[in-house]
Amino acid sequence: MRSIPAFAVVKAAGGRADVATSALSMLKLGDVPEPELPTRDWVRVKPNLSGICGSDLAAISGHISLYLDPLTSYPFVPGHEVVGELEDGSRVVIEPALGCVVRGVDPPCPRCAEGRPGLCYNVTEGPIEVGLQTGYCAGTGGGWGEVLVAHPSQIHAIPESLSDEAAVLIEPFACCVHAALRGGAGKDDIVVVSGAGTIGLLTVAAVRLFTPPKRLIAIAKHPTQRDLARKLGADQVIVPADVYQRVRFATGARRLDGMNRPLLLGGADVTFECVGRADSLNDAVRYTREGGTVVAVGMPGEEKVDWAPIWQRELTVTGAYAYGSEPKHKGKRTFDLALDAAAEMHLDELTGPLFGLGEYRDAITYAMSAGRLGAVKVAFDLRRLRA
C-alpha cells in the first residue's frame, strides 16, 4: 500500500528488515479480493513460485526511486517473477510488462510497435490501472498472491522439463538477455559484470551465451556468488576491492590514483552494472574505457554519481529494462530466447530457499542477506497453499 508515513518510517530505519516487514511498514499480509479479469480474453494464473526481486526489496525497504511512484498504482500485490498454472493446469511464466498490447491500446505507441513494451508510454491507458508491470499494478494482482490475472500476450508456456524452480528465473533471465543484447559486446571486448546477485549472475550467463566476449570478468562479493559466476561463464571472478587492479591488468590500461578513488586510462569495453549503488556505479564509470558502454541492469535508486567521468570519457550509459522483441534475433521475444537457453542452464540450482507466504517476514529478511547467506533467488512457494 502507498503510505508516506510508513515509507518514512522504513526509510528512517535504513530499510532494516525487521522494520520493513513490521506493522508500521508498507507491506501487509492479508486477504484481498481476487483481481477481476479486465476483459474477457484475460486469464487467471495461480502462481506456483514467485521470486523476491531486488526491486521488490528496494520498494519494501524504502530504497526505491520515487521516480517509479507515479508509474505504480496502489495497493498492489507484489511479485513479477512468476511461474504458475492456468485453469487448465498448464504451467506458464508471466511476462509482466504492461504495454499497449496488454492494455488493448491500438495502434500501439511507437516503442511498443518496436517491440519494447517496457518503454510503453501508454501505461496509464486501458482497462487496468497505471503500472509498468504485473506486480506493481493494482488491477492485475501479483505473484505474492494466490491468483493474478494476465493478458494472453503475457503468457509463455514452459516445457515439462523445466522445473518451477528454474522457470521462476525466466523473467529475470530475460531481463539479463535483453541487457546483454543492449550492451552488444563484441568478440574482442573485455566485459565486466559488476554484482553477482540474481541479475548479476544471470547477466554473466546471458553475456556468455548471447554476446560472448574475449574476456568476461565478474565482480562478486561472496564465495557462493564467486563459484556460481564461474559456473555460469565468467572467465575471471574478482572481489569488489580488487576491481581496479584486476580490470587494469585484464585490459592493459593505465591506473591513476586520485584523492577519492582510482581511475583507469583504458579499461573495460562494456560494463554491466548490476548493483545499482553509488559505489559500484562510480567505480563502473571509472574502469570502463573511454568511449565504452555502461549498462545499468540492476535497478538503481537515487544514487550520487559523479558525472565527470561520464562526460570526460564520453561513455555511453544506457539502461536495460525489462524485455520485448530483440532485433538482433530477428525480433524474437526475449522471453522465448531466455526459455530456449534455460533448457541447458540448470537454473533451478540458483533458486531457494522457498518460503510460504505466511513466512514473508523471514523470506524478506533472508532475501535481504541472500548473498551473504549463500542464496541467489529466494522465492515464495504458493503450491503449499493449494496442497
Partner: protein, 525 residues
C-alpha cells in the same frame, strides 16, 4: 685473523639458534645431531681503499692502465651496479663512489668533457635521488645529475641498440650511449658469485629482448647453481652476450668485493654465532625481539631498512673482464665458502627482511620465495646442501603485502598467475609476454620507481631449481592462505614443520640449518 665458516653439530649444550623471520627474529632449538652451518667471519678489509683502487687502475689485468685509455675528446661512459647490492646497503662511502671518483678524476685530468654516468639497473626499478646519491656520493651527484648521471632505461626505444645475436641465437641489445662510447668503464660491486663479470653489461645495460635470453625457466633450471658461474647456464649465456658486447665497445672492468660484515654494531648479534654472544649481544637480541614482536610492521620495516652495513673492501681489480672476474670470484669465495660434508634430508633457513629487490620496501610473498628458494637455497657449489627430494623449511611471516610503487606487476602476478599455476615453465609460456609488454607496467618502470613488468616472473623462476629439487617446502609462521597460493605448505612451529617433513623424508631425518645472513657459500662435498 678471521675464522673460517663452521659446521657445528647440535648437542645438549648447543644454545638455540637464530632464525631470521622477515622483520623479526626467533631463537629455535634444533634437534640433537642437527648441523648448523655458520658463515666465515668477515675478512679483514683493505686498510686504504683509495690506494688499492689507484693501484688497480694503474696496473690492470690483461689491459692497459686506465690512464692510458683516456684521451681528450673521447666519449666516456661509466656504468655502475644499482642498489640491489650490497645488502643491506653499504654505509657511506659506498665503494662504487670511491672507484667512480677516482675514474672521474682521471678523466678530468685527461680533459674528457663528454662523460656520462649510468646506473646499470637492467630491468630493476629506478632509484630515488637519495638512493642514487647514497651510491655515488654527493660530489658526483651534484656535479652530474640529472643530465650526465642517470639511470638505464631498458624500454627506451631510442636509446637502446640492437647489437646482434650470439652463436646460440641470443639477442643482444645495449644502451645506445654505451654502445656509441669510445670507452665504457664498468664499476661493479660483487657481493655474491652470481654478480659481476659479463653479466654486468649484458643485464645492467640491456633490454628485455636481451635479458630474456637467459632470464627464463629453462636456463635457470640448468643453472646449478647460479651462485657458481662454471655450473650456471645463466652465466654461460651472459658470457656469450658479453663477448659480443666487448666486440662492439671497448670496456674496462673494475670489480670490487667486500667482506660479509653485514650488520652494524647495534645488530652485531646477528653477525655472530650464538655461542659467541656477549651479555650485550644477548641484551640486544632480547630488545630487538621484544621490539619486533610488538611493533607495527611499518615501524619495524623503517628500523630495519635504515640499517647500513659496515662492509669493508676486500679486493679491487681492473682490466679485462674475464681476468678481472676470475680474481673477483676468488676473493668472494674466500670470504663466503664453508665446506659442508654431504647433503641432508632437511634444510632450515630463516628468510630475512631484505633481498635484492625490496630495498626500502616490503618483501612481498613472491620475493620471499625468490629470497628463500632462490638466493639462499642456491648458495652452494657442487651439490645443494639439501638432498634431492628433501624438505626445505623456511621461516618468514609471508604476509599478503605488496609495495604498489615498487612492485605493481607483482600484485597481478600473485593474484592472477599464481592462482592459475605455480609451474615456472607453464607460467612463462602463458604469461611472459603479457607482463613484459603491459604498457602500464612499462610506463611505471620508465617513469616511476617500479620494477619492470616481467620482474615478478624472474623472481619466481629464480626459485625454479629449488622447487624442482625439494620434495616439499614448508613455511613456518607464515600466512596460511598466502603460502598455499605459492604452492607450499605451512606450519605453525618449527617442531610441527619437522613432523610434517618426516612424512616426506622419513623418520629421524638429518637436518642442517644454514645460519644466514651473513651470507655464505656451502661447498658441498
Amino acid at each position: 685473523m678471521a675464522r673460517p665458516g663452521a659446521v657445528i653439530e647440535v648437542d645438549r649444550n648447543t644454545p638455540p639458534v637464530l632464525f631470521h623471520f622477515g622483520e623479526g627474529i626467533r631463537l629455535e632449538k634444533l634437534p640433537l645431531g642437527a648441523r648448523i652451518v655458520y658463515p666465515p667471519d668477515p675478512l679483514d678489509p683493505i686498510a686504504h681503499p683509495e690506494r688499492a683502487i689507484k693501484r688497480a687502475l694503474a696496473k690492470p689485468m690483461e689491459d692497459d692502465p686506465l690512464k692510458s685509455l683516456l684521451r681528450r675528446g673521447m666519449k666516456l661512459t661509466i656504468a655502475f651496479d644499482d642498489l640491489s647490492l650490497p645488502l643491506p646497503p653499504m654505509a657511506a662511502p659506498d665503494v662504487r663512489q670511491l672507484v667512480m671518483e677516482e675514474v672521474i678524476d682521471m678523466a678530468a685530468e685527461a680533459g674528457i668533457e663528454d662523460l656520462h654516468i649510468i646506473a646499470a639497473l637492467g630491468l630493476h626499478r629506478r632509484m630515488t635521488e637519495d638512493e642514487l646519491r647514497h651510491i655515488v656520493g654527493e660530489r658526483i651527484f651534484s656535479t652530474f645529475h640529472p643530465d650526465r648521471l642517470y639511470q638505464h632505461d631498458g624500454e627506451d626505444p631510442e636509446n637502446n641498440v640492437y647489437i646482434g645475436k650470439t652463436a646460440e641465437g641470443e639477442d643482444v641489445t645495449l644502451s645506445r650511449r654505451a654502445a656509441e662510447s669510445d670507452l665504457v668503464v664498468y664499476v661493479n660491486l660483487t657481493l655474491v658469485p652470481m654478480d659481476g663479470g659479463h653479466k654486468s653489461m649484458s643485464t645492467g645495460l640491456a633490454s628485455f629482448r636481451s635479458i630474456r635470453a637467459h632470464h627464463n625457466a629453462k636456463t635457470l633450471l640448468a643453472s646449478r647453481s647460479y651462485m657458481n658461474p662454471p655450473d650456471s647456464a645463466l652465466h654461460h649465456s651472459c658470457i656469450r652476450q658479453g663477448q659480443l658486447i666487448e666486440d662492439t665497445v671497448r670496456v674496462f672492468h673494475i670489480e670490487t668485493t667486500v667482506n660479509n660484515h653485514a650488520f652494524p654494531a647495534i645488530a652485531s648479534f646477528m653477525q655472530k654465532r650464538e655461542t659467541d654472544w656477549t651479555a650485550q649481544d644477548q641484551a640486544m637480541f632480547l630488545a630487538t625481539k621484544q621490539m619486533t614482536d610488538i611493533a607495527p610492521v611499518a615501524f619495524k620495516r623503517n628500523v630495519f631498512h635504515a640499517m647500513r652495513a659496515p662492509y669493508g673492501l676486500t679486493s679491487v681489480q681492473a682490466g679485462q673482464v674475464d681476468a678481472v672476474h676470475d680474481q673477483t670470484l676468488d676473493a668472494v669465495r674466500k670470504q663466503l665458502t664453508v665446506r659442508v660434508e654431504g647433503q641432508t634430508d632437511i634444510v632450515t633457513l630463516g628468510v630475512p627482511y631484505l633481498g635484492p629487490y625490496n630495498v626500502n620496501s616490503a618483501m612481498n610473498p613472491i620475493l620471499v620465495v625468490c629470497m628463500g628458494l632462490g638466493y639462499l637455497f642456491n648458495f652452494y657449489r657442487n651439490k645443494p646442501v639439501l638432498r634431492k627430494g628433501g624438505v626445505l623449511i623456511l621461516t618468514h611471516p609471508c604476509r599478503y603485502e605488496f609495495d604498489a610503487v615498487q612492485h605493481p606487476s607483482y600484485i597481478d602476478y600473485y593474484d592472477e598467475v599464481l592462482a592459475d599455476t605455480t609451474d615456472p615453465i607453464e607460467i612463462e609460456k602463458k604469461y611472459e609476454m603479457r607482463f613484459a609488454e603491459d604498457p602500464w607496467f612499462r610506463q611505471l618502470y620508465r617513469k616511476s620507481h617500479a620494477y619492470h613488468g616481467i620482474h615478478p616472473h624472474y623472481a619466481w623462476i629464480w626459485a625454479a631449481h629449488a622447487m624442482e629439487h625439494a620434495g616439499d617446502v614448508i613455511f613456518v609462521g607464515a600466512d596460511r592462505d598466502v603460502v598455499h597460493r605459492l604452492g607450499f605448505k605451512c606450519a605453525t612451529t618449527l617442531e610441527d614443520a619437522f613432523e610434517m617433513a618426516e612424512q616426506t623424508v622419513g623418520r629421524y631425518p638429518s637436518v642442517t640449518h644454514l645460519r644466514m645472513p651473513p651470507i655464505m657459500l656451502a661447498d658441498v662435498e
